[in-house]
C-alpha cells in the first residue's frame, strides 16, 4: 500500500514535470560525491524553468 502511494505520488509529480528529488540526490551521491547537490527548492525551481522554458515542454492538443 505504501509502495503504491509513493508510486502514485511520483507519477503525479512527473506529470507536471517534477522528477524524483531522491533519485537526483542518489545520482549526485554516486556519480558526483565532490559536488554539492541542489537543495529541494532549487531542484524544484530548476525543473520548473526547464519544463516551461518552451523547449521540451510540449504537450498535445
Amino acid at each position: 500500500m505504501r509502495r503504491l502511494l509513493s508510486l502514485l505520488r511520483e507519477t503525479a509529480l512527473l506529470m507536471v514535470g517534477q522528477p524524483s528529488y531522491e533519485a537526483y540526490l542518489e545520482h549526485m551521491a554516486t556519480s558526483h560525491p565532490d559536488r554539492l547537490p541542489m537543495s529541494r527548492i532549487e531542484f524544484f525551481r530548476d525543473r520548473e524553468s526547464t519544463r516551461y522554458g518552451g523547449k521540451g515542454g510540449g504537450r498535445c492538443c
Partner: protein, 686 residues
C-alpha cells in the same frame, strides 16, 4: 515456444470476446445497444493488439535490446535524463499526449453515426497511431532522445529537417487557433462558464505565489487548495451568472472573447512561468486525469444506451457539423485518438530521456497511445448517448438552426432527427445555460453528456448544472494551458527558424527577439481564431478539417521517418509495419487536401467557395451569410488564406515523400546498415 499453445488460450478467448462485441456494434440496427459493447470491443482489441502486435514490432521489427543502455542510463544526470519506473513514465507520457483533441474529434465525427468513428479509432490506433508513437519513441531513444526535427535531419538530410520544422510550426499555429476557438464557442454567452474560467487566473496566481514564497515546491498542497477554489468558483458561478450586476459583466460575444484570448495569450506567454502557467498546469493536469478516470467509471456503472444511429445519411457528405463525405474526411476529423502527428513531438521530447530500458518502450509508446484511443472512444460514446436531435441542434451552425428553440427543433426534425422545442429549452435549463442551440465545437456537447453520466452517479438531475460547468471548466482549463505553453513553444520554434537567417534572433535570453517572436506567434493563431469566430458557419466547420489535415500530415512525416530508419537498419522485410499506415495517411490527407483545393462543391473546397463569392461580388451581389460587401471581401480573403495553407501542407508532405523515397533507394543500394544511431560509448556520462 515455451508453454506451447496453452499460454495463448486466454488471449484467444479475449480476441473472440472482442470480435463478438465488435460484431454486435457493427450489425445492430433495430434497437439501441448499450455503450458497453463498444467499451468491450475496444478494450479487448487493444489488449490483444498490445500483446501480439506491439511485442512483435518490438522484438522482430525494431529488435529492442533490453541490455542496451538507454539515454536515461548512459547520460543519467538526475534531471533531464532519469531512468524512471515504467508505470510512472506511462502516466507522464499519457498526461503529455492526451488533451482536447481525442475529446473533440470523436464528438464531431458522431454526425456520421457511432459506427464509422468507432471502427476508425480501433483500427486506426492499432495499425497507425500507436505504431507511429512507438516508432518515434524508438528512433529518438536510440539517438540520445533528440527531437523530431533533428531526427529528420540526421536520417534524411538538412533540407528535409528544415521543411519538417516549418511544417511543425504551421501545425502548431493551427492547433492553437482551433483549441482557442473551442474555448470561445464554449464560453460565449455563458456567464457561469466564463466566470469559473476567469476565476482560474487569479486562483493560479495565488497558487504561484504560494509555491514561490510561502511553501516552495509543495505541489500536492497547493493543488488541493486550488481544487477547493475551483469548486467554489463553479458553485458561486451560478450566483454570479444570475446576478443582474455581475451576470452581464461576464457575458461576452464570440468576437469579444476572441480578443480577450489573444490578449491573454500574449500576456501569459511573457509572464514568469511560476506565476500563472505552472500552477494552472497542476490544476489542469490533475483535473484532466481525474475527469477522464471518472468518465470511464461513470460509463461502466451507468451503461448508457446509444441513441445515435450506427450510421446517418451524412456518410455521403452534406452533414451540418462539418462538410465532406466519410472518405477522406472522417479520417482527418478524428485525428487525436486514432493517429496524431503531434505525438511525434512528445515521443521525441521528454519521454525518451526518461525510459529506463528498451524493454519498456512498447508499454510507453504503443500502450500510451492505446490509452488515448480509449479516451476518444469514451468521447464518442458521450456524443452518441445524447438524443440525436439534441446533438444536431447543438452542433449545427446558427445559419442552419436559426438560433431559437422553435426554429432549431424544426430544422433538426427536418433533417430526420425529431425533437420538440421544449426538450431544447429544458436541456438548457437543466445545465444552467441560456441556450444550448448551435453551441458548436464539441466541448459543450461533451459537457452535456458528462453532466448526464455524472449526475446519474452522483447528485441526480439537480446536480446537472454543476457537472456541466465542471466539464466545461475542465476542458477550458487544459486548453488554456495548452494555448499558453504552445505559444511559448511556438515562440522558440520561430526564434530557431528566424535564427537560421538572422543568428542574433536565436538568443532566448534577450528581450526583443522574444517579444517579437511571441507577438508573431500570437498574431498567427489569432488571425485564424478571428477568422473562425467571425465565420458564419461557426468556424469549427472550416478550421477543424485544416487542423486534421495538418495533424495527419505530421503523422505521415513521422511514419516516413520510421520507414526510412527501418530501411537504413536493413530491416526491409518488416518495413510494411510503417509503410502501410504511411500510405493510408498519404491517401487520406492528400485527397482531403486536394478536395479542399479543387472540389467543385463550395461547401468542401476553399477555392470553389472563394470563386463563388468573388463572382457574386463582381455582380455587386451580397451572398448570405455575409451581410455587406466588406464581409464578402473578408470571406474571399479567408478562403484564399486557408487554400494557401492547404497547398503549403501538401507541398511539405509531398517534398518529404520525395526525400523519403530518395533515402530509401540509397539505403537499399548500401551493403550495410546506414542508420545513424548514437551509441552509448560515444557519449561520456554526466
Amino acid at each position: 515456444m515455451q508453454g506451447g499453445i496453452t499460454r495463448h488460450i486466454p488471449w484467444i478467448v479475449l480476441a473472440i470476446i472482442g470480435f463478438v462485441a465488435l460484431l454486435v456494434v457493427a450489425v445492430s440496427r433495430e434497437e439501441p445497444i448499450s455503450a458497453l459493447w463498444i467499451v468491450v470491443a475496444a478494450t479487448a482489441s487493444f489488449l490483444v493488439a498490445y500483446r501480439y502486435y506491439a511485442l512483435y514490432i518490438g522484438r522482430r521489427v525494431m529488435r529492442l535490446d533490453p541490455a542496451r543502455p538507454t539515454p536515461a542510463v548512459y547520460r543519467a544526470d538526475g534531471l533531464d535524463y532519469v531512468a524512471t519506473d515504467r508505470r510512472v513514465l506511462f502516466g507522464h507520457h499519457f498526461a503529455a499526449i492526451a488533451g482536447a483533441g481525442p475529446l473533440v474529434g470523436p464528438v464531431l465525427a458522431a454526425q456520421m453515426g457511432y459506427l464509422p468513428g468507432t471502427l476508425w479509432i480501433i483500427f486506426g490506433v492499432v495499425l497507425a497511431g500507436a505504431v507511429q508513437d512507438f516508432m518515434v519513441l524508438f528512433v529518438s531513444m536510440r539517438r540520445d532522445g533528440r527531437s523530431l526535427g533533428e531526427l529528420v535531419r540526421m536520417e534524411m538530410g538538412a533540407v528535409a529537417g528544415t521543411i519538417a520544422l516549418v511544417g511543425t510550426f504551421m501545425i502548431m499555429v493551427i492547433i492553437l487557433a482551433v483549441l482557442a476557438l473551442i474555448v470561445v464557442q464554449a464560453l460565449a454567452g455563458s456567464p457561469w462558464g466564463m466566470f469559473t474560467v476567469a476565476a482560474t487566473v487569479p486562483l493560479a496566481m495565488l497558487m504561484g505565489v504560494y509555491t514561490r514564497w510561502i511553501r516552495p515546491g509543495r505541489i500536492g498542497e497547493v493543488s488541493l487548495l486550488g481544487l477547493v477554489g475551483l469548486l467554489l468558483a463553479i458553485v458561486y458561478g451560478q450566483n454570479v451568472a444570475a446576478s443582474p450586476v455581475w451576470g452581464p459583466l461576464f457575458t461576452f460575444t464570440p468576437v469579444q472573447l476572441c480578443w480577450i484570448l489573444v490578449g491573454y495569450g500574449a500576456v501569459a506567454a511573457i509572464l514568469p512561468v511560476w506565476l500563472l502557467l505552472a500552477p494552472r498546469d497542476y490544476l489542469s493536469t490533475f483535473l484532466k486525469i481525474g475527469a477522464i478516470a471518472a468518465l470511464a467509471v461513470g460509463i461502466v456503472i451507468t451503461a448508457p444506451e446509444l441513441q445515435m444511429p450506427a450510421l446517418t445519411q451524412y456518410i455521403h457528405g452534406g452533414g451540418p457539423v462539418w462538410s465532406g463525405a466519410l472518405f477522406p474526411f472522417l479520417f482527418i476529423t478524428i485525428a487525436c485518438g486514432a493517429v496524431s502527428g503531434f505525438h511525434a513531438l512528445i515521443a521525441s521530447g521528454t519521454t525518451p530521456k526518461l525510459i529506463a530500458t528498451e524493454a519498456d518502450a512498447p508499454l510507453i509508446g504503443y500502450g500510451g497511445m492505446l490509452m488515448e484511443a480509449f479516451v476518444a472512444i469514451m468521447a464518442l460514446i458521450g456524443a452518441s448517448i445524447l438524443e440525436p436531435g439534441l446533438y444536431f441542434a447543438m452542433n449545427s451552425p446558427a445559419a442552419l438552426t436559426g438560433g431559437s428553440p422553435a426554429t432549431a427543433a424544426a430544422a433538426v426534425t427536418a433533417m430526420g432527427f425529431p425533437i420538440a422545442p421544449e426538450v431544447l429549452v429544458q436541456t438548457a435549463k437543466d445545465v444552467g445555460e441560456a441556450s444550448i442551440i448551435s453551441r458548436t465545437g464539441g466541448a459543450p456537447t461533451l459537457a452535456v453528456a458528462m453532466a448526464e453520466i455524472f449526475s446519474n452517479v452522483v447528485g441526480g438531475p439537480g446536480m446537472k448544472a454543476f457537472w456541466y460547468h465542471f466539464a466545461i471548466l475542465f476542458e477550458a482549463l487544459f486548453i488554456l494551458t495548452a494555448v499558453d505553453a504552445g505559444t511559448r513553444a511556438g515562440r522558440f520554434m520561430l526564434q530557431d527558424l528566424i535564427g537560421m537567417a538572422v543568428p542574433s534572433f536565436r538568443s532566448t535570453e534577450s528581450f526583443v527577439p522574444g517579444v517579437v517572436a511571441t507577438g508573431l506567434c500570437v498574431a498567427a493563431w489569432g488571425f485564424f481564431l478571428y477568422q473562425g469566430v467571425t465565420d458564419p458557419l461557426g468556424g469549427v466547420n472550416t478550421l477543424w478539417p485544416v487542423f486534421g489535415i495538418s495533424n495527419q500530415m505530421l503523422a505521415a512525416i513521422a511514419l516516413m521517418l520510421g520507414t526510412v530508419v527501418l530501411f537504413r537498419m536493413k530491416q526491409d522485410r518488416f518495413a510494411w509495419v510503417t509503410v502501410v499506415p504511411t500510405i493510408w495517411l498519404l491517401i487520406c490527407t492528400v485527397s482531403a487536401g486536394m478536395l479542399k483545393l479543387f472540389s467543385p462543391d463550395p461547401a468542401v473546397s476553399f477555392v470553389a467557395h472563394a470563386r463563388k463569392f468573388s463572382e457574386a461580388a463582381a455582380r455587386g451581389e451580397v451572398l448570405a451569410p455575409a451581410a455587406s460587401m466588406d464581409a464578402m471581401q473578408q470571406i474571399i480573403f479567408n478562403d484564399w488564406v486557408d487554400a494557401g495553407l492547404c497547398a503549403l501542407f501538401l507541398a511539405v508532405v509531398l517534398s518529404l515523400l520525395v526525400f523519403t523515397i530518395r533515402t530509401i533507394i540509397a539505403a537499399r543500394q548500401a551493403e550495410a546498415p546506414t542508420t545513424r544511431e548514437v551509441f552509448p560509448q560515444a557519449v561520456p556520462a554526466e
